[in-house]
Amino acid sequence: MANSIIQVENVSKAYRRDTFDIPVLNNISLSVSEGDFLGLMGPSGSGKTTLLNLVAGIDRPSKGRVVVGGTDIGTLSETALAKWRATHVGFIFQFYNLIPVLTAYENVELPLLLTSLSKAERKKHVEFALQVVGLADRMYHYPKQLSGGQEQRVAIARAIATDPTLLVADEPTGDLDKQSAEEILTLLERLNKEFKKTIVMVTHDPRAAEKAHTVRHLDKGELK
């Protein structure tokens, strides 16, 4: 697959709790093309978030390989993996996870602090990202001064600030009202179409899944 950006090959994942191994993913294989918008659906406990975490490089498989953009991320050290995430992945959480003591501007600037960009360059990136999500006028507001939908848009701005190739979103509309959810989905769609971001999104919401180009279902750790 020439233009495949994500290759998940025979991946299994089990978590150890006390003396028990709890299997979560069972011999999963998946390929995502560059510029794709993949929706992952399935009931709670089916392993959607675990698969997303593996693809985003924040967890490691028990078996198998995860190759993203040509890098077998399972072979990277913790430090190299952190650097890799900073460069290649933007993560959007269900509960936004903004740092409450930082303004919208500072939250978006956070991943840029890990780059060698100058202050002026970082400013340019932050302002652009906030403009893309439509919050250029709220950049000096703190998270508590924003609505849920606005907080999620700041989180999306943070995810795209470093211009990563891959965006992973874990239930990005799960904590939002219908209108805000719609705005977020439209924004993700725009990022996919206009900015060519590859998106992998976990969702329970069928309306959200409608925005994805491809939808895969997980059940009991197996991909359907």
């Binding site: 975490n53 985003a56 924040i58 967890d59 913790e78 430090t79 952190a82 650097k83 995430r85 900073a86 460069t87 993560f91 959480f93 996870n97 740092i99 409450p100 003591v101 930082l102 500072e106 600037e109 956070l110 991943p111 602090l113 890990l114 943070r158």
Partner: protein, 386 residues
């Protein structure tokens, strides 16, 4: 924004908790500084000892005198530059609470042996010429408002009778390590009165102070002095001035050990206070650390963030504590008679120790939260509910 701005914002996230922690550290650092100052004051006499001074006293006890006749024999020992002598006079000025050190001294030689007592030449001349004149330290003069020409009446106890001394000189201590609360008068005047009233006690010296040319000869000269008077009616014990001074504080060693122990217990308390704050903060931010890791922050970034936050709190607490130490020590000096602790000041080493302790505590208090933040996996961190 830079990383240290985030450290500051994190440190001030819970303003009340951070303020109380800073205050706790400040009080502990201040208590540490104060206790160390007390310990320093206790040992001030020992620390002010000179390596080129020996003290010869009666081998039985300090309270027994030595004959004046020993002076010339000691002076003939090779390596001895000057021999002086003193008696502890004591007496009562106003009442027994008005304590300060009063010595009968062979002034001319004593000032050669103790060059750290600086006397203006005209005052020294006046002091030398008058038989019942006395010299007081500048601190003592300040405390009792003594001026040149004032008469200090003292009721004798060791040397009974009424004694009137005229202040003819006020000495300045060379530096803050020198006791500025002593009173000296002429040994010859004491001896003259003893010859009249108690002839059996005439010609008696409390102890000799020997200035030697080479401190390395101290052991040899001490040995020679003591050999000179072996099997005499008053055998001697000669030792370095430091050892002589240590003899005075030995009886209180347990108190000093306890004070020292307390000062280090205080360091432990600071560590617990700050450690507790850091552990609580880090625990509350478990999820945030996981988020930071997700967006690419590494273990070393988190280490800097947490250690930096801990250091900011410890530095602010330490600095406030050091600032508080000065007025507290100043107030103590005001309320406690100067003669109780003649040398009472904050030594630079105390500041260095207190400041370093605060910094070290800042680092140590961050260790456990750092270890926790770095070791917690992102997945566990994101699931954490505080």
């Amino acid at each position: 924004m830079r990383i240290f701005k985030l450290m500051f914002k994190n440190a001030l996230r819970h303003k009340l908790r951070t303020s109380l922690t800073i205050l706790g550290i400040a009080i502990a650092v201040m208590a540490f500084g104060f206790l160390r100052t007390v310990v320093t004051a206790w040992y001030a006499g020992v620390e002010a000892s000179a390596a080129n001074r020996l003290v010869t006293r009666n081998a039985v006890s300090f309270i027994f005198p030595l004959p004046l006749a020993y002076r010339d024999k000691i002076a003939r020992i090779p390596g001895v530059e000057t021999v002086s002598y003193m008696n502890w006079f004591q007496g009562v000025y106003i009442d027994k609470n008005q304590f300060f050190a009063r010595f009968a001294a062979d002034v001319q030689t004593a000032l050669e042996v103790y060059p750290e007592f600086i006397v203006p030449p005209d005052q020294l001349e006046a002091f030398t010429k008058e038989r019942n004149a006395c010299m007081v330290g500048a601190d003592l003069a300040k405390q009792y408002n003594f001026k040149i020409g004032d008469v200090i009446p003292i009721e004798g106890d060791i040397y009974p009778g009424k004694w009137d001394f005229v202040v003819r000189a006020i000495y300045q201590p060379r530096d803050e390590k020198v006791d500025g609360t002593q009173m000296w008068f002429h040994w010859a005047y004491l001896d003259e009165r003893m010859r009249q009233d108690m002839p059996g006690r005439a010609g008696e010296v409390g102890w000799y102070i020997i200035r030697i040319s080479n401190p390395n000869d101290g052991a040899r000269i001490s040995e020679e002095v003591d050999q000179l008077f072996k099997n005499s009616r008053a055998e001697t014990k000669t030792e370095s001035e430091r050892a002589f001074q240590e003899g005075f504080v030995q009886g209180t060693n347990l108190i000093i050990v306890l004070l020292n122990f307390m000062s280090f217990v205080i360091i432990g308390i600071i560590m617990l206070v700050l450690g507790n704050t850091m552990i609580m903060s880090a625990r509350e931010r478990t999820k945030e650390y996981a988020v930071l890791k997700t967006i690419g922050f590494s273990g070393s970034h988190l280490t800097k963030l947490i250690a930096g936050e801990s250091m900011i709190i410890s530095i602010l607490g330490g600095a406030l504590g050091l600032l508080l130490t000065y007025p507290i020590v100043g107030m103590f000096s005001l309320f406690v008679p100067k003669s109780w602790f003649p040398i009472f000041y904050i030594e630079p080493i105390t500041i260095v120790l207190a400041g370093t302790s605060a910094l070290v505590v800042g680092v140590i208090a961050a260790l456990f939260p750092i270890q926790r933040a770095v070791r917690t996996s992102i997945v566990d961190g994101l699931r954490f509910v505080g």
